[in-house]
């Protein structure tokens, strides 16, 4: 498996560390138990495109949002997390891919 880092170019997967679905890009708000529960425990499991987080640990230390097809394993998009969303924890408006499609 290879991931094309937007900075370093195509690299072997052993340079990266996997974190999980892109859900971690949002932070739940205090006291909202349902959204905290959702944030921590509930994940879509689509057969198809999934956005997930990878860290280029042995490379440029960029966190990446990788869109990967869970069936074909084809990676269709890689963007730096820093460029993917707004700051301050607010990346609202980012719809989960695959879900509901």
């Amino acid at each position: 498996m290879r991931i094309t880092c937007p900075f370093c170019g195509p690299r072997d997967r052993r340079e990266f560390i996997y974190m999980g679905a892109e859900d971690y890009l949002t932070r739940p708000s205090e006291g909202d138990w349902a959204s905290i529960d959702d944030h921590l425990h509930l994940r879509d499991n689509p057969a198809g495109a999934l956005r997930e987080l990878w860290y280029h640990e042995a490379g440029c230390a960029a966190w990446l949002r990788v869109t990967r097809d869970t069936v074909s394993h084809v990676i269709s998009d890689v963007v730096a997390v820093a460029d993917a969303g707004a700051s301050g924890g607010d990346i609202s408006g980012q719809k989960k891919p695959g879900g509901g499609a």
């Binding site: 900075f7 052993r14 440029c60």
Partner: protein, 171 residues
């Protein structure tokens, strides 16, 4: 009063040669990480390198190490600290130079990169075996920077790769 003696990461380890290639420790006077502050322009003080590139400069070079970060080898320009976060990385890294024909073939045992197409002026943050490394293409070979604490493992792994490649050529 203390009397401090400086020692390099691979002090006591002399160069080794296998199959026409030489591995030796390489050291630099000063390595500084440079991370320009938000909105800062360091262009007047430095030629900022593109990703995976090295820019040569008087008395040193500057190597891209990540988005918004580079390692400056050599003297730090006056006033740079006003525009960028600087840290002294000089002692954090062990330098190993592998030189000679076929250096890429040896490092291919350890580095998951297409080293054959890596030209002068290129550098990559990548892996050397299980170690994070900064690999820089130099004249006749490569320089590898690994965490200082891992210097002995890096030396062992590269020398083992050299011996294996040399043994293939022996018959």
């Amino acid at each position: 009063m203390a009397d401090l003696i400086a020692r390099t990461a691979l002090a006591g380890q002399g160069p080794v040669t296998w199959g026409g290639l030489t591995l030796r420790e390489v050291t630099w006077d000063r390595i500084t990480s440079v991370a320009p502050f938000r909105g800062a322009d360091v262009g007047a003080l430095l030629d900022w390198p593109a990703p995976n590139r090295v820019v040569a400069r008087d008395g040193g070079r500057i190597v891209w190490t990540g988005p918004g970060q580079a390692f400056l080898f050599g003297p730090v320009p006056e006033g740079l600290a006003d525009h960028a976060a600087l840290t002294d990385q000089s002692d954090g890294w062990a330098g190993l130079a592998l030189e000679g024909k076929g250096a890429a073939e040896v490092l291919a045992r350890l580095v998951p990169l297409d080293l054959d197409t890596m030209g002068p002026g290129e550098a990559s943050r990548t892996l050397l075996g299980h170690m994070n490394a900064l690999i820089i293409r130099v004249g006749t070979g490569f320089e590898a920077l690994v965490f200082r604490s891992m210097a002995r493992t890096a030396w062992h792994d590269i020398e083992a790769a050299m011996r294996g490649v040399a043994a293939r050529q022996r018959r």
